[in-house]
Symmetry: C2
């Protein structure tokens, strides 16, 4: 199951709206194949592993380990259980039941009906964390939200005049791009696009095709269409806007592929809970937030942050620099926001602190 | 020499205005004694080690390792070289020549004149760093300045209403007290005393007698005398004030043991270079700065910081909290202040980053 987990980890961030699944096939105590969910979710991990065995007779009587219950329904692919049964697999070890209502035990049922032995092994922490993220997005409409901050030692993300190129070192920035690769969605505020004009691709060699879909908060649809982010690419670009604004503001988007999503508008800003639900409906599971400070602050305030990566350079800007986190209106120590430290490390001259939800 | 260095390290912070020195005595390839500079600088390490050998005949023909040249002058103690010669030590290994003009080779000279073999071993980095701090304070009037900051994840040291008890955890605060133990002097701004009213003792069990001397910047002599810091204790309390203020402001200090030091006043604040010189003249070698933000900022701006310990809790206060570092008037990335990361570690829920001068 540990090896199946490692296969699943390879797929993280590239499979939405499918879950990242890993699969190992064993015959006579020897691994004969391995598989993981392929980009955009197909083929599934089990099929990927089955396809890896050229001599199909080897599969007869083999054991198959997979991190999640094999599917039993016809979707974008044929049901995996059929392929497993037809291949002659004797035993299937499963990391968890797929809580997706379309499966939810039906895969196991069909395997058993066809004389395949099924063993449930829910003990693996890594597998269970992976599946939890999928279930949360699919069933509870709660995406896994990771914030990335790159700041100075004194937590400033730019000088007063918005200069920030570059605060952290090259290796830290590469790590940031790796986070993009491992996310299926990137959520940013309007000002990040207007001021920094980023293209938000994953710039690691060979991984650009895995750049996450872009979700922009622009309540009043103010971002000019000539920004780099809107250049046509394979990924989808969504804009969330205040559903109450005048409809003629939507016109300018007629001729391009940007997808506009109306959301609730509460307390002078877009309702982030509504945004999260809509993102899940669009298949988002792992959301990376790279700014701006206002969006990050709202997510912290609403306790929507699952993980925080804080890259910190050995540099000091001073009080007048721009803060990584904006106003939280905290006056008492008891109302301070708390996270849980996971680890910290050196990245050459920078440090990286990783926190998770407390 | 490594072992002698470890002995010297024990004495760090407790020996001012003497240097912390370590000493090892070896006879027939066996360590027969060890010593380090005792509190307030006497006895010296060599005497401490020589005294440790009860059977004085063992010392005849022994080898002595010490991290700094033994003294040759009569000060608060008799010259160490005399004791070494009289004991019959055959060879002395020395970590460095004592650049203090009172010694500066005279110790080595006298040893050689008395048929003691002397070998200089300047290769040990730790020893050389220790001695450099002593030389810098004694000869160049430059104390070693360490800043301690305890902040939230987003670098705030208190809420807007100055609430800060406690941001970091108990273990981090103990580590902070250890830094006090390892410093001979503590420098703070006026507001730290007025607002927080700390007593600034080292509160680690048994180490309270090693609480550093207190140096307060109070240009206009505004701190009320009923503050905890002024309660009579063994340590000295100094106040630096603007030498140009009206002399009648000094009167209120007549009846207590606070020592007032006039310093230059430049650009609406006390001249920190003058402060540093005066501190060295008073014997300071290792200065710990615990606040406030204005003092820390000036030290960073004037590049007077040798080391920075930044304790960081897994908590967020937000933009309106008080900044650890104040205005530095940096608008371009090229004028950003840079330090060099030494190490970072976890202290339970907190992190500690250690930086040094770049």
């Amino acid at each position: 199951m540990e090896l199946a987990y490692r296969m699943a980890s390879r797929a993280v961030g590239t499979t939405a709206s499918n879950p990242p699944v890993g699969c190992i096939i064993v015959k006579n105590n020897k691994i004969i194949s391995r598989g993981w969910t392929q980009p955009l979710g197909r083929p599934h991990a089990e099929i990927h592993a089955l396809n890896g065995v050229k001599d199909k007779s080897l599969l007869k009587g083999a054991e198959l380990f997979c991190t999640l219950e094999p599917c039993s329904h016809f979707g974008k692919t044929n049901p995996c259980v059929d392929s497993i049964i037809n291949a002659g697999i004797r035993t299937v070890y499963i990391g968890d039941i797929d809580k997706n209502p379309l499966v939810n035990g039906k895969g196991i049922e069909k395997l058993k009906l066809n004389k395949v032995k099924v063993l449930l092994n829910k003990e693996h922490k890594g597998v269970s964390d992976l599946n939890k993220i999928f279930f949360n997005s699919k069933i509870n409409n709660k995406p896994n939200i990771t914030i990335k901050i790159a700041s100075t030692l004194d937590s400033k993300i730019a000088t007063l005049s918005s200069k920030s190129k570059w605060i952290t070192n090259e290796l830290s920035r590469s790590h940031g791009h790796y986070l993009r690769f491992k996310s299926d969605s990137l959520l940013v505020g309007k000002n990040t696009i207007i001021i920094d004009n980023p293209d938000l691709h994953c710039r690691l060699a060979g991984l650009s095709p895995f750049s996450p879909d872009i979700f922009i908060l622009d309540s009043n649809l103010e971002i000019p269409l000539n920004k780099k982010i809107f250049k046509p690419t394979k990924r989808n670009v969504y804009i969330f806007y205040n559903k109450n604004i005048e409809k003629n503001k939507l016109k300018k988007y007629n001729k391009n592929k940007i997808i506009l999503i109306p959301v609730n508008y509460i307390n002078k800003s877009l309702d982030l809970n509504d945004v999260a639900i809509k993102m899940c409906e669009l298949g988002a599971q792992r959301v990376l937030v790279e700014g701006g400070a206002e969006l990050i602050t709202q997510l912290i305030d609403k306790k929507l942050v699952d993980k925080l990566y804080w890259f910190r350079a050995s540099k000091i800007i001073g009080k007048e620099g721009l803060n990584a986190v904006s106003n939280l209106n905290i006056s008492k120590m008891s109302s301070i926001k708390e996270l849980s430290l996971v680890s910290n490390m050196q990245i050459q001259s920078d440090t990286l602190e990783i926190y998770k939800r407390k």
